[in-house]
Subunit: 293 residues, 4 copies
Amino acid sequence: MNIGFVGLGSMGLPMARNLLKAGHHLTVWNRTRSRADELRSLGAQVAESPGQASATGLIMSMLADDAAVQNAVSGEQGIFGALPKGGIHICLSTISTALSQQLTEAHQQRGQIYVAAPVFGRPEAAEGARLLVVVAGPPEAIERCRPLFEAIGRKLFIVGPEALKAHAVKLAGNFMISSMVETLGEAFAFLRKSEVDLAKFHEVVIGSLFQSPIYENYGRIVLEQKYEPAGFKLRLGLKDARLILEAAEAVAAPMPVASLVHDHLLSGVAKGQGEIDWSSTARVIAENAGLKS
Amino acid sequence: MNIGFVGLGSMGLPMARNLLKAGHHLTVWNRTRSRADELRSLGAQVAESPGQASATGLIMSMLADDAAVQNAVSGEQGIFGALPKGGIHICLSTISTALSQQLTEAHQQRGQIYVAAPVFGRPEAAEGARLLVVVAGPPEAIERCRPLFEAIGRKLFIVGPEALKAHAVKLAGNFMISSMVETLGEAFAFLRKSEVDLAKFHEVVIGSLFQSPIYENYGRIVLEQKYEPAGFKLRLGLKDARLILEAAEAVAAPMPVASLVHDHLLSGVAKGQGEIDWSSTARVIAENAGLKS
Amino acid sequence: MNIGFVGLGSMGLPMARNLLKAGHHLTVWNRTRSRADELRSLGAQVAESPGQASATGLIMSMLADDAAVQNAVSGEQGIFGALPKGGIHICLSTISTALSQQLTEAHQQRGQIYVAAPVFGRPEAAEGARLLVVVAGPPEAIERCRPLFEAIGRKLFIVGPEALKAHAVKLAGNFMISSMVETLGEAFAFLRKSEVDLAKFHEVVIGSLFQSPIYENYGRIVLEQKYEPAGFKLRLGLKDARLILEAAEAVAAPMPVASLVHDHLLSGVAKGQGEIDWSSTARVIAENAGLKS
Amino acid sequence: MNIGFVGLGSMGLPMARNLLKAGHHLTVWNRTRSRADELRSLGAQVAESPGQASATGLIMSMLADDAAVQNAVSGEQGIFGALPKGGIHICLSTISTALSQQLTEAHQQRGQIYVAAPVFGRPEAAEGARLLVVVAGPPEAIERCRPLFEAIGRKLFIVGPEALKAHAVKLAGNFMISSMVETLGEAFAFLRKSEVDLAKFHEVVIGSLFQSPIYENYGRIVLEQKYEPAGFKLRLGLKDARLILEAAEAVAAPMPVASLVHDHLLSGVAKGQGEIDWSSTARVIAENAGLKS
């Protein structure tokens, strides 16, 4: 298929590469142009603006946050203005359910189609086309785009016709991960103060009992206190915590653990940890137990 | 080996059965004698008291809580009085780190040896000898008892020489499970109010993303609201929440998620859910979101 | 002085009345015009728009929330367009620190002056000109407006030149009240379940020990469960809880009690209590303790 | 009246002095004898044991915690053994509701009478006989002892015939204070990071709006970070937090703010603040906001 792709960060770049490998024709745009140029050798064309990339009639966006998405859709060279009637915008970014709903309405008013398709997985999974793609939007549009989802992911979860629900699922999943990281942090602080060998605890109990890659991976990071380079920056984790709390407030569902995780992430920012891995909330928790990291 | 075994509840009975199958000679005792009699046909002898079962010189106990353990060790017919010098008491129960420490000292004063060996796993895992056994105590004693641990479990985690640390690990593991159940409850309440299909969420996201039997199993229970019969009673979950908070207070490690889970379990008891499965805290959370179960 | 006044709700109306009584000339505007007409007999003139009321060169606004303030300042008939250069806008409303900062900048760009002056006190206090007025903005402007503050309040707290800080103080104060209401709710639930006579507890302990009108007044409301008519609606309490959390996030200050209060207010909304008094979070707390109200 | 008095700490000593001043005859006992000797010049007799002081038939105890009370009642020279039949034990200490209930039963079995009479007030209030005395127990016994309560307090709150309820009231009151200290800490951290003048905030808002001596006094301590000498030690505050949580668990009433305060006090202990004033939780909160004290 002939598609546009905007946003070539640590997630977007490997996704675009996998789309090219799968035989699709890409017109890519990135704020920092050099990253777009990297894809030229693989056959991609480089656009001057999100709008130019949208002329293909099918545009995928993988951007950092609500503000970046709003910039890409609005303005003279934005997606809203350039996407043809009947064209599809696939939003892969993790954004607020509120913005997802606004995009649904704004595209509809212009005779365009909006599909929400946030993904689960870290950069390595994006590289290996092993993402879990959560999709919501008009069924026919989803079917038309299925080959694209298959090119980037190992599994597809179709939530239904209302786009914002895919983002609700994505936020719920991220919340679950963040809660597991918090849980690890509390268990580790308790066990360190109880003078239990954490490495062994990680190996035996976490490995054997929980069998979850989340505990496996974050357990290792927290154990080694290897928060740099950040796999996912703490300040972005705080953003996601805020998004789930906003989404939960919109449907009147209290989420006390999400509030608690939010407060620990905020403490992390206050302590200067915004740019290191978000699992460094474990350090906040350890300091509250009187431990020096 | 020739051993005593006291406490034949839903966990103790299958454990004793596996010890018999492995060729050990058992003298068993249970408060309700009929459960002990069940083991006669498998070759077990039935004792009149914990003390009588301890005459073997090696006694394993798998009892409900601190009070039950204290009853079994103390008194005229208790373990303290009957276990020979040099004899070993293996405590398989989930008890407080404080009691575990008291038992260490009390046995030592009597020239006896205390080994803590709490286990992870539900009754099915006990039946299949697939428990994870967490052991701490004098190394030689642990080595001597290794065949017993291998008869009941699939994996052994030796924490070190201080018995109470095995219980610290057990409490930390239980806390992690309880936190995952809380997390599920919050995610589900949010998604129900967002009108997302929970069964599909469970299938795809939980199955694919988290790959943890904890989310798999409890997800199903919460989804179907099948809290009866209880796999693990809520009031016992509350007991465990109290134990981890006490243990954490003893080493000055704040655990705010543990506090929050405790409060939801307590609310469950207040609402009459003490005898149903502890994952029914999901109902407490749902009601706080205005949902009827 | 010759002033405009927009927003004649349960707080704004008595404030405007007190300004008239103090001899000032008022041009008033309200979305629902009938409330403006009530002031005619006291000598007020009625404007057709916030802009028309601003022609006086000094405009006070007392509106429900951020959205209402944004409506009043923007648009063709708004304050921004109509207030003369050098004119002053006194914002009495409880709004976000973010909007307060935006208003500072927007007025400055137009050569206008913005003074933040949120007030503490319920409608009875507004009626009796006993409000506590928290002011921040350019010192000369504050001095010029001093007679107005004295006409509505019993006490003036000048925070400094940066307007948003007055709103930070207001939000902090509201948070303190909300936390006291939460505290009352928890203490009362515990004591009801302990079968202690709450009325007596309120009379003796709260009266004698705490001597705070907050506990006195809310204690009575919660005791009698007299949540209607609402002195302050729960959904507005939720709005304030959100505002303090946003302001606290902006300066990276975790406020876990504020998060907890927010979640209980959200639960109140979920349970249909949005339009009754915000102290009905005590009912949420009581239900979590298994009590029927 | 002729009475015994055990426990001459910073609270007990001034209380005993006021009883002497009111004309009562005292036989006093204290673990550290020198403090008892101080009262000799005022006419008190010094006993060798709690039991000897109980021979008067009316014994008041003002001790640090559950353990100290248990020591004083039990043993050969304890109150249980020495108090005559029909004699009264007035427990002024802040103890657990569980122990208060045990004392009720234990005294009853011995034909003795137990009256719970915990007090509100700091050492200065004890000195000035301005305590608030919360009493529960058999009505006739309370009436008989009324002159004693009047000698130490300014106000009497009779809860009813069940002794443990007086302790429930005391714990609820202490919880309310601790929650106000937490609230202050959060508001101050937020305002410090918002660069608002805290001293002025304290003067105007706390003085004027809340009018509570709790905010006045603790506000000053936190503002000046004058945590030494401790008016009330943090580790004792932690003890009280544990007592209310235990009492609340016993009646199945979740108290999430109490849990949160408990966790902050525990963090204070972990950070080495156990012996300074309990309001130094404000420092824990400030550090979580990235502030150095």
